[in-house]
């Protein structure tokens, strides 16, 4: 549904986005992660036909960016970084205004507004001016506005920012429902847990794409999965055991700290029983065995930190 190839956007001498390529098929959520200034908002603005790319091609459904911008905007819903509401209007008036801008007719406008007010839990506050709303309520109005015209492509910039845990959960459920209904969703967020829970694929950018894959693929890519063994500390010396483990044919590396062992196995699922048997044979009392997988946060921090270290100029420019 969304196809981005070699996207570049420069602002005079500053390159905000460089050689960015990714696909967001229908019925999927693509999480776009990156530090502040990484080019996420610029990317969304380009995809929403708000600003033109300097280079590269973007196709939304069968439409080409640049040639069909008005039609692309009509099929796109966007939650901007800031809610950007009209403070002197009520929530209902805000939604009615945008419904008309997106071409909803009188016949459909009323029901669409009421349905989306209910979706974000604002039916009771619908006739209050949004200027008096809390940050979370404004965010919910903005989400309703983005979805009002039933867009096929949705860009969400920090959708749960400012929401309490209960409201954030309900918004995540809405996003999951939209994905199940076949919408293509690009999710920009700093909330890595949210990105991992919602995204089918994740792209980590910092000016350019640093890494891409499913959350599981990215975690595996960061560092090999290790098998963590909790030992009864009174029985054996963990450091000595780690030294011995290193010589076993199915062990790639082993290290110890306190009464714990971290062992990288050639094939964790195949070799873990042999590891346990060997440790028991050496007199170890094992309290627990588990897989220690890198968190998405670790992956993200490693990639962004490495990029900043390798290319500080590019990081600043982005």
């Amino acid at each position: 549904m969304i196809s981005v190839q070699g996207l570049e956007r420069r602002f005079r001498s500053v390159t905000a986005v460089h050689d960015l390529s990714f696909e967001v098929p229908a019925g999927t959520v693509y999480g776009l992660l990156g530090p502040n200034g990484a080019g996420k908002t610029t990317t969304v603005r380009v995809l929403a036909a708000l600003i033109a790319p300097t280079a590269g091609t973007v196709r939304i459904a069968d439409l080409e960016l640049g040639a069909d911008n008005r039609r692309i905007r009509a099929m796109t819903g966007i939650l901007t970084e800031s809610p950007g509401l009209h403070e002197r209007l009520t929530a209902r008036q805000n939604l009615r205004y945008y419904g008309r801008l997106y071409g909803l007719t009188d016949a459909t406008l009323q029901s669409a507004v009421e349905r989306h007010l209910e979706l974000v839990g604002l039916t009771d506050a619908a006739d209050r001016r949004v200027g008096g709303f809390s940050k979370g309520m404004r965010q919910r109005v903005a989400i309703a506005r983005a979805l009002l015209h039933e867009p096929r492509v949705i860009y969400l910039d920090e959708p749960t920012s400012g929401l309490d845990p209960e409201a954030a959960k309900s918004i995540r459920e809405v996003i999951a429902g939209l994905r199940d209904a076949g919408r293509s969703i690009l999710l920009c967020t700093h909330n890595l847990d949210e990105a991992e829970r919602l995204s089918d694929r994740i792209g980590i950018i910092n000016g350019s794409l640093l890494a891409e894959g499913s959350p599981a693929e990215l975690r595996r890519r960061a560092r090999p999965t290790e098998t963590r063994v909790e030992l009864d500390g009174g029985t054996v010396d963990a450091a000595a055991l780690a030294g011995v483990m290193g010589s076993l044919p199915f062990v790639r590396s082993a290290r110890a700290a306190d009464a714990r062992l971290w062992v990288e196995l050639a094939d964790p699922r195949r070799d873990a029983p042999d590891l346990v048997a060997d440790l028991v044979a050496r007199g170890a009392r094992i309290l627990s065995v588990s897989e220690d997988v890198a968190s998405l946060e670790q992956v993200y921090l490693d990639l962004v930190g490495e990029h900043a270290h390798r290319d500080p100029e590019a990081t600043r420019a982005a």
Binding site: A49, I51, S82, Q93, R100
Partner: protein, 263 residues
């Protein structure tokens, strides 16, 4: 340009203006002041037994209206001469509304979601322009009509013909809306560069000062009111300025420029 969308944007703008009491005060205050001052002078002349020969520039006034008795000639001169200041309403009010609108939207960051909708920038600008200009046109015409009726009631019905003269009918139909458009464009352009509505409104001096200069020159020159030729000349000058501002405005209010600079 799709009229239904322009109407939608106008409707939204109008709701926001109508809910802003301070802004409504900005619209009403100059209109009332510019009408009240000459009306008070006319009423003062009417109720007091003034020796007309002591009135400053009475010869000029009598020369402007040789068919009228001195008292009415003085009232007629004051009534018609002050009408030049009515042009300050379309000069001052729209720039206040437009700058409030654009800077308000910049501060609320509400331009981006609107531009993300399938609308053209020209439609957004047209809606905003009409919304900013209409109150000023309505205020000017309303005050003009009230001014004529009240002064005629206070002094003499013959004042009606002076206030509702052909040249002022043409001025209300052409010059006033044109000055409004000029003022809105100036407001939009300036608002795209400054962050404070009051700073933007100070740029209204570029429109206001020439009008004051014309009004003062007219008074000092002993001319009671504009001639038809001067009204048409004013139309041409304002049209030329609008053309120049449209060129600047099309650059300043480009979709990308708005998002990357005004956000």
């Amino acid at each position: 340009m799709r009229p239904s969308l322009v109407l939608t944007i106008f409707g939204k703008e109008w709701r926001e203006i109508a809910s802003n009491r301070l802004l409504l005060g900005v619209v009403a205050a100059p209109a009332v002041i510019f009408a009240a001052i000459p009306t008070a002078i006319v009423a003062f002349i009417q109720v007091n037994d003034i020796d007309m020969s002591q009135l400053g520039q009475i010869e000029v006034m009598l020369a402007a209206f040789p068919d009228l008795e001195p008292k009415l000639a003085a009232q007629g001169f004051i009534v018609t001469n002050f009408m030049a200041y009515f042009l300050l309403i379309p000069a001052m009010v729209p720039i206040a509304i437009a700058s409030q609108s654009v800077i308000g939207e910049r501060q609320a960051r509400s331009l981006e979601p609107q531009l993300a909708a399938p609308i053209e920038v020209s439609e957004l600008l047209a809606g905003k322009t009409i919304a900013a200009a209409l109150p000023a046109v309505a205020a000017t015409v309303g005050v003009w009509i009230g001014y004529g009726l009240i002064n005629a009631a206070i002094a003499d019905p013959r004042l009606l013909r002076m206030v509702f003269s052909p040249q002022w009918i043409v001025a209300m139909a052409t010059l006033v809306p044109l000055i409004c458009v000029l003022s809105v464009l100036l407001g939009v352009i300036v608002s795209s560069r400054v962050g404070d509505p009051r700073t933007a409104q100070q740029f209204g001096a570029f429109v206001v000062l020439p009008i004051i200069a014309i009004a003062v020159a007219q008074f000092l020159g002993g001319q009671a009111t504009f001639s038809m030729q001067q009204v048409f000349m004013g139309d041409m000058v304002v049209l030329g300025l609008i053309g120049a501002l449209l060129v600047i405005g099309s650059w300043a209010f480009d979709r990308e420029e708005i998002l990357t600079r005004l956000g």
